[in-house]
C-alpha cells in the first residue's frame, strides 16, 4: 500500500511538472506541419486557394461589436470559402497587454485592432507587416485619404483604418444657453481661448464659497493628462510633436502660452483645483450629474451614452447614473490658442497587420489583407461606426450605412464634419526612433510635469524650462524649435 501511494504521488508530481512545461511549447514548430484550420497564423507555403486561417485580436470597439463576431466569421468564410477568420476577443483593459506579450514572444495575431499611434511602437519591434504591395487598388481607393495616411509609417502601409474620430469637447446644451453661449456659432466658427475662458467662467455656480457646478472639467488623472495637453496644443499651431523639418515643436513659445492658459482656467475657479485626480469616469459622472457645463475629451459616442441615460431617467430606470439629470449633449470644438488656426485632434483606430518570426508567404499576406479589409469596410465598418456615432471613412461603408438609420442630433453631426475637415494630418514621415524618443519624453517629463502644473506645484515657466531642457538633451540644440 505504502509503495502504491509513493508511485501515485510520483505520478501526480510528474503530471504537475509536465503540465507546467506544456505552456512552454514553441508555436513556431507548427510551421513545419501542413496547415490546418486551427493552425493560427500559419506562415506556411499555401497557394491562393489553399486553406488558411487568419487570426484577429479584437476589443469591444462598440457595444454590439463583440456580439457580432460569430456572424462576422461566418460572413468572411462565405465570401472566401477557403479562409477561416478566427477572432480572439479581448477587453480594452487586456488588449494592450495581450498584444504586447504576443508581439514580444514573436507570435502576434495576424490582425489587431489598435490606435494608429501604436504603429510606431510595433515598428520598433519589426513585427508589423507592410501591406503596400498586397492591398489592391480597389481596396485603397475605398478609403478617405486622410485616415488612410494615419495607417502609414514612412512609405509602408500597416493595415486599414476603421474610423477617424475627433477628440472634441462636450457641453450641456441647457447650461450653455443659460450662460448665454451661442453654441451654434461656436460649432460653426470655433472660439479663441479668451472667448472660451469667459464662457466657462459664466458656467460656474457657487454658493457660500462652495462650487456646485464648474464651467469645464477635463479628465487629467494619470495618462489622461496626455490627452488634455495633446488636444489643446494642436490648436496652438503644433499639430504634431515635430515640425515639417523634423524639429521638436514643444519648445516653441506657443507651448508656454498653452501651459499658462491651463493654469489660468484652474486659478479662475472655472476648473476644480483637484483636477489632477479626476479620471475619465469621474468627469463623465460630473457631466451627467450637472456638476460641469463642459467636459473633455468629448467623443461622438458620448451623445449616444447621454441619450441612453436620458431614456433611463425618463423611464425611471434604476440603472441610470445616480443623481444624473437629462442632458442634451452638444459637440463643441477645442478653443484656439495664440492666434493659431483650428486643427482638430483626430484619433484613427484600425486593423493593424502583424507578422510572426518567420517571413509570411505572399499567399498568407494576401489573405490577411482580405480579412483586414473585410473588417474595416462595407457592412462591418458601417454597423460599428453607426454604433459609435462616428463618420464613415470608406465608400463601401457609406453605401452599406444607407440602409442603417441613426438618430443623431443634426447640429452635432454637422459640427463633427466641420472638425473632420480641419483634422490634424497624419505624419508618416516621422522616423520611428524619433517618434519613440518623443513618446518617452512625453511620458517621463511632460506628463509628470503637467500633473505638477495642474496640482499647482509647478509654474508654467518652470514646466516649460524642464521640457525644453529635456528636449535639448534628447534631440540636441539644433533638433528643437527655438
Amino acid at each position: 500500500m505504502k509503495r502504491k501511494m509513493r508511485v501515485l504521488a510520483s505520478i501526480f508530481a510528474l503530471t504537475l511538472a509536465l503540465s507546467s512545461l506544456a505552456a512552454c511549447g514553441d508555436s513556431t514548430k507548427k510551421e513545419a506541419n501542413p496547415p490546418t484550420p486551427s493552425d493560427t497564423g500559419s506562415k506556411t507555403n499555401v497557394s491562393a486557394d489553399a486553406k488558411d486561417t487568419i487570426t484577429a485580436l479584437l476589443p469591444p470597439v462598440s457595444s454590439e461589436y463583440q456580439n457580432n463576431f460569430p456572424q462576422m466569421e461566418k460572413d468572411f468564410n462565405a465570401l472566401y470559402p477557403n479562409l477561416t477568420l478566427k477572432i480572439e476577443p479581448a477587453s480594452w483593459e487586456d488588449m494592450t497587454q495581450k498584444l504586447d506579450t504576443q508581439v514580444n514572444a514573436g507570435s502576434p495575431p495576424d490582425i489587431a485592432f489598435i490606435g494608429s499611434d501604436g504603429i510606431s511602437k510595433y515598428m520598433q519591434q519589426d513585427m508589423l507587416m507592410d501591406i503596400t504591395d498586397t492591398a489592391t487598388k480597389e481596396m485603397v481607393e475605398d478609403y478617405d485619404k486622410v485616415p488612410l495616411e494615419y495607417m502609414k509609417n514612412g512609405t509602408g502601409l500597416y493595415g486599414f483604418p476603421a474610423y477617424m474620430e475627433i477628440h472634441a469637447l462636450g457641453g450641456n446644451r441647457e447650461f450653455l444657453e443659460k450662460a448665454g453661449i451661442d453654441w451654434k456659432k461656436v460649432q460653426k466658427e470655433g472660439w479663441t481661448f479668451d472667448e472660451f475662458r469667459e464662457a466657462i467662467k459664466k458656467g460656474v455656480v457657487s454658493e457660500g464659497g462652495k462650487t456646485s457646478r464648474y464651467g469645464f472639467v477635463f479628465a487629467t488623472a494619470g495618462v489622461t493628462s496626455k490627452d488634455y495637453l495633446g488636444i489643446l496644443i494642436k490648436n496652438a499651431g503644433m499639430p504634431s510633436p515635430f515640425t515639417s523639418d523634423l524639429k521638436y515643436a514643444y519648445t516653441s513659445k506657443n507651448f508656454l502660452e498653452v501651459l499658462k492658459d491651463i493654469r489660468a482656467m484652474i486659478d479662475d475657479g472655472s476648473m476644480p483645483k483637484e483636477l489632477s485626480s479626476i479620471d475619465a469616469g469621474k468627469r463623465w459622472n460630473m457631466f451627467l450629474t450637472g456638476q460641469t457645463m463642459i467636459t473633455g475629451k468629448g467623443l461622438a459616442t458620448f451623445e449616444n451614452s447621454a441619450n441612453k441615460n436620458n431614456a433611463k431617467i425618463e423611464a425611471n430606470d434604476g440603472s441610470a447614473v445616480k443623481g444624473s439629470i437629462k442632458v442634451q449633449y452638444t459637440v463643441l470644438p477645442v478653443p484656439t490658442f495664440a492666434g493659431e488656426k483650428m486643427q482638430a485632434s483626430a484619433a484613427v483606430d484600425g486593423y493593424v497587420t502583424f507578422r510572426g518570426k518567420k517571413e509570411p508567404t505572399a499567399e498568407h499576406k494576401a489573405n490577411v489583407v482580405k480579412a483586414a479589409y473585410f473588417l474595416a469596410s462595407g457592412k462591418v465598418a458601417a454597423s460599428t461606426n453607426n454604433d459609435l456615432f462616428v463618420a464613415h471613412i470608406t465608400a463601401s461603408g457609406k453605401k452599406a450605412a444607407e440602409s442603417m438609420p441613426v438618430t443623431r442630433d443634426e447640429f452635432n453631426k454637422a459640427a463633427v464634419e466641420t472638425m473632420l475637415a480641419q483634422a490634424a494630418p497624419a505624419r508618416p514621415d516621422i522616423p520611428t526612433d524619433l517618434g519613440a524618443k518623443a513618446i518617452k519624453l512625453e511620458d517621463e517629463v511632460i506628463v509628470p510635469k503637467l500633473q505638477a502644473l495642474i496640482s499647482g506645484e509647478m509654474t508654467p515657466d518652470a514646466m516649460y524650462e524642464a521640457v525644453k531642457t529635456a528636449a535639448i538633451q534628447t534631440f540636441g540644440e539644433d533638433g528643437v524649435v527655438k
Binding site: 509513493r6 504521488a9 510520483s10 508530481a13 510528474l14 504537475l16 511538472a17 507546467s20 512545461l21 512552454c24 497587454q97 504586447d100 508581439v103 514580444n104 514572444a105 514573436g106 511602437k121 520598433q124 519591434q125 519589426d126 513585427m127 462652495k210 488623472a221 494619470g222 495618462v223 476644480p272 483645483k273 483637484e274 483636477l275 489632477s276 485626480s277 479626476i278 469621474k282 518570426k357 519613440a436 513618446i439 518617452k440 511620458d443 517621463e444 506628463v447 509628470p448 510635469k449 500633473q451 505638477a452 495642474i454 496640482s455 506645484e457 509647478m458
Partner: protein, 300 residues
C-alpha cells in the same frame, strides 16, 4: 554481474533517499523553469537590445544608461522612503494587534485572525478601487468628508506630491497585516507559559513582560518579517501602478513600476532587465546587512 546489479537496482527503488530525490526533483524542475531560467535569461537580456526577431549585444550599455538615469535614482529614493515608512510601522501594528488578540478566547481569536487576513484574500485591484473611492479628491470623498468635519478643506490625496506618497503609505498601514499577525500570533503562542509565571511571581508589569520576555522571544520572528517585509516593499509595484501611475511628477514612481514601464510600455527589455538585477543586488545587500546587524544574537 547480474547478481551484483540486482541489489543496486532494488536499493534505488526501495531507498527512502531515492523517493526523496524524486519529490525534490519536481520542485527543482519548477524552480529551474520559473525562477532560475528567468534570472539567467534576464542576466543575458541585460546585455542586449531585445527584439523578437533577434537581439543585439550591447555590452554594459543598459547598466551605464541606468546609472546615469536621474529617474532611476529618484525611483530608488521613493522606494527607500516607502519602505522606511511602511515596514517598521507595519510590523509594529501587526505586533500590537497580535498582542491584543492573544488573550481572547479561541473562537474570537480565530474571528479576528480571519478579519485581519481578509484583505490578503481580496484582489489587490479591488482593494485599490476601494481606496481610490476613499481618496476621492472632491469634497464628497470619504477622507475629505472626515477632514471637512474638523474644518479642514479637502485634499487632493493622490494628485498632489505633498500627499501622494503618504496616501500610499497609509493604504499599506491600514491593510495587508493578515500574514504578519498570524505569524506573530503563532510565535506568541510558542512562548513557554513558565516565563510569564516566573515574571508574575516577581511582580513584573505588563510592559516589563513585554520588554523582557515577549520581544526577545519574538526576535527571530521579527527578523524574518522585517527581511521579507523589506524585500516585498522594495518590489512594490501594484499600489503605485493602480493608484497614482507613479505621479504626480514621479513622486510615487517606485523601481518596480519603472522596470514595468521600461519593459512593457517602451519594450526596452534590456534596460528593464539591467534595472531588475540592480534592484536584486540592492535587496540582497540590505537583507545581508539586516542579518549581520540584527541577526547576531538570534537563535533558531
Amino acid at each position: 554481474m547480474t547478481q551484483l546489479a540486482k541489489p543496486i537496482k532494488r536499493r534505488r527503488i526501495k531507498g527512502d533517499g531515492a523517493w526523496g530525490y524524486a519529490f525534490i526533483a519536481v520542485a527543482l524542475v519548477i524552480f529551474a523553469m520559473f525562477t532560475a531560467y528567468p534570472v539567467v535569461s534576464a542576466f543575458i537580456i541585460s546585455f542586449q537590445k531585445y527584439k523578437p526577431l533577434g537581439s543585439t549585444f550591447v555590452g554594459f550599455d543598459n547598466y551605464i544608461v541606468t546609472f546615469k538615469d536621474a529617474l532611476f535614482w529618484k525611483s530608488v529614493v521613493n522606494t527607500v522612503v516607502y519602505t522606511l515608512l511602511t515596514v517598521p510601522v507595519g510590523l509594529f501594528i501587526s505586533f500590537a494587534v497580535a498582542i491584543m488578540i492573544l488573550p481572547l478566547r479561541k473562537k474570537l481569536q480565530t474571528t479576528f485572525k480571519a478579519v485581519y487576513y481578509l484583505p490578503a484574500v481580496a484582489s489587490g485591484v479591488a482593494l485599490s478601487v476601494v481606496w481610490l473611492w476613499i481618496y476621492d479628491p472632491l469634497p464628497s470623498g470619504i477622507f475629505n468628508q472626515l477632514l471637512n468635519f474638523f474644518g479642514i478643506s479637502n485634499q487632493n490625496w493622490l494628485g498632489s506630491s505633498a500627499t501622494a506618497m503618504f496616501s500610499l503609505v497609509l493604504m499599506a498601514w491600514l491593510s495587508s497585516h493578515g500574514t504578519s499577525i498570524i505569524i506573530y500570533l503563532a510565535a506568541l503562542l510558542g512562548i513557554d507559559d513558565s516565563y510569564y509565571e516566573a515574571a508574575e511571581l516577581d511582580g513584573a508589569s505588563f510592559m516589563k513582560k513585554l520588554w523582557y520576555i515577549v520581544i526577545p522571544c519574538l526576535k527571530p520572528t521579527t527578523l524574518f518579517l522585517l527581511v521579507t517585509g523589506v524585500i516585498g516593499s522594495f518590489q512594490v509595484f501594484q499600489n503605485a501602478y493602480l493608484m497614482t501611475g507613479g505621479g504626480p511628477d514621479n513622486a510615487t514612481t517606485m523601481v518596480g513600476l519603472l522596470i514595468f514601464n521600461n519593459a512593457f510600455k517602451y519594450f526596452e527589455f534590456g534596460k528593464a532587465a539591467a534595472q531588475s538585477l540592480i534592484l536584486a543586488a540592492i535587496i540582497a545587500g540590505i537583507a545581508l546587512a539586516q542579518f549581520k546587524f540584527l541577526g547576531n544574537d538570534v537563535e533558531y
